[in-house]
Subunit: 286 residues, 2 copies
DNA sequence: CATATATTATACCGTCAGTACAAAAAATGC
DNA sequence: GCATTTTTTGTACTGACGGTATAATATATG
């Protein structure tokens, strides 16, 4: 990405955080980043497009850092999940994302709306997958409910705890409290067997292109799972598991699929597993 | 309220629901309600003021219906609470409030923001008070946490259940599922004794004017409680309890305090309790 | 040095919320 | 029924907004 363009993104981000998205005019951005209107519309086709660019940058950085937390750790260890949630708070607070997200979600711009709600669903799916690793296959029927409720509790607790202790806010405490409640809820639904929403819904909600063949995801997930098992009890297990998860996540995302990154991950894995074992996975790249 | 003004409120509400708040121009409202711009700005000082007027109307009607559900019922019976939550869903869906609320909450108009967040806090407080009646004094330390988490779970579950079953959405099921989770959480925090936020915070958050004397609320609540006890085991108990709760709620709200309604409720109560017993309560009216 | 690309300045469009104000209409008081 | 006040109307206006158009200028590239 162009340095200049990146600079515009940065200043715009600052302005949006300070004044809000709608309250920041294009002229403001022009003034503060010292570019002309022509250049702006050469970079971004609209104000909304700029906003999405901002989101994408932060999002990519966050997801990368989030995956780094898994390196060398047991993915079923809930303490890792806690660390990841703490990172989320840190990222959100640092770049003041949440108010921006929510301002935009109800902005009557369908493109922007879809962008944000896709992101939220992606986040939900990620929580779901993590719960799958943490709580295991037996709890699967309750994991979508759990992901929804945990997200809800977590965000609300954060909001009100911040309202209460604005200066001395303690996000770590909120994370731990929320996770403890999650554990209680999991125990409870496991015992009562109550299910609100079946986890298969996540596939229906997954953005566009894979909707038709649900088996695509299933096959892919199974493929990844088997490779994960394969890599157990070998050296560098966690590193490879993380790579596999990364590939899964990347391939499941229809938009902005970054094939070249997957390609590189695949070749790393080939050194470990041998080319033959990776062949089926490679076929998903086409 | 003026008939004409009410008519503008109604048509504007319809338009906001159809097209969204920001996407509806003043001109639209003028055309559809057949008034001139001059008249509009005679009624409402701004578009935002109109929106607040819409909210107030619906809110008042909802709170009235919600209190009616308590008539003749035991306030500690959770089934009553469930019915009230179902009413909330019904009201919100009927007038499509939630999208409007959320659109507005991030609109960079501080007045509007305060209005909405005051309303949300009021709602939170109401849930807290109801939990107090349902779970009793012993659970008090956990009731603010519970109110926050229940609200969060409830709204999120509603959202995603609707996303899943758009046409055949079943709010009653969501209410019951959410309440069951609430019960599990209450049991859990009762056992572990974990508290995130002390319920006294609600007083700090209560809009403006009573912040200074926290004892005001305490005294008032005690006064009401003792009168409630007084009315037990008399004919029409529930009716009087409802009246007392209504007065409490009304007096705790600093803005738009409708003294004349409280006045009328008080005189009804005086017929029951005698003038002397009501004297202390009456002093809060000044 | 010549060509292509990126950037600038400026004028412009339609839309919006909100204001100003004089004329007309309606309600009110006597 | 008439005079005064209040409400309503129509219209023209303001300033800000997002976005477009374009010709001139600067910068990079081969």
């Amino acid at each position: 990405m162009n340095d200049r363009k990146q600079h515009v993104i940065n200043t715009a981000h600052k302005l949006f955080v300070e004044k809000g998205f709608q309250a920041t005019s294009i002229q403001d951005i022009l003034d503060y980043s010292s570019i002309s209107k022509g250049t702006f519309y050469n970079y971004f086709s609209s104000k909304n497009e700029l906003l999405m660019a901002i989101f994408r940058v932060i999002q990519k950085k966050f997801e990368h850092e989030r995956n780094e937390l898994l390196i060398g750790k047991d993915p079923s260890d809930i303490e890792v999940f806690i660390k990841q949630m703490e990172l989320q708070v840190k990222t959100n607070r640092a770049s003041n994302l949440i108010p921006l997200y929510e301002e935009v979600l109800f902005l009557n711009d369908s493109e922007l709306k879809k962008f944000i709600s896709d992101f939220q669903l992606r986040m939900l799916r990620w929580v779901y997958e993590r719960f799958h690793e943490i709580f295991g296959e037996s709890m699967k029927p309750y994991l979508l409910d759990a992901a929804i409720m945990f997200t809800a509790i977590f965000h609300h607790n954060l909001k009100y705890e911040r309202m209460a202790n604005s200066l001395k806010s303690n996000p770590e405490r909120v994370v731990r409290y929320s996770v403890n409640r999650l554990l209680a809820l999991m125990k409870n639904v496991g015992e009562t067997g109550e299910q609100l929403l079946p986890p298969e819904l996540l596939d229906d909600w997954s953005p566009s292109c894979h909707k038709k063949d649900k088996t695509y995801q299933e096959k892919l997930t199974l493929e990844i799972m088997s490779l994960k098992k394969e890599s157990m009890n070998r050296p560098d297990t966690v590193k490879y598991i993380e790579l596999l998860d990364f590939i899964l996540e990347e391939l499941l995302q229809p938009n902005n699929k970054r094939n070249f990154v997957v390609e590189s991950a695949l070749s790393t894995l080939e050194e470990h597993f041998g080319k033959a074992k990776l062949q089926p996975l490679r076929s998903y790249l086409k």
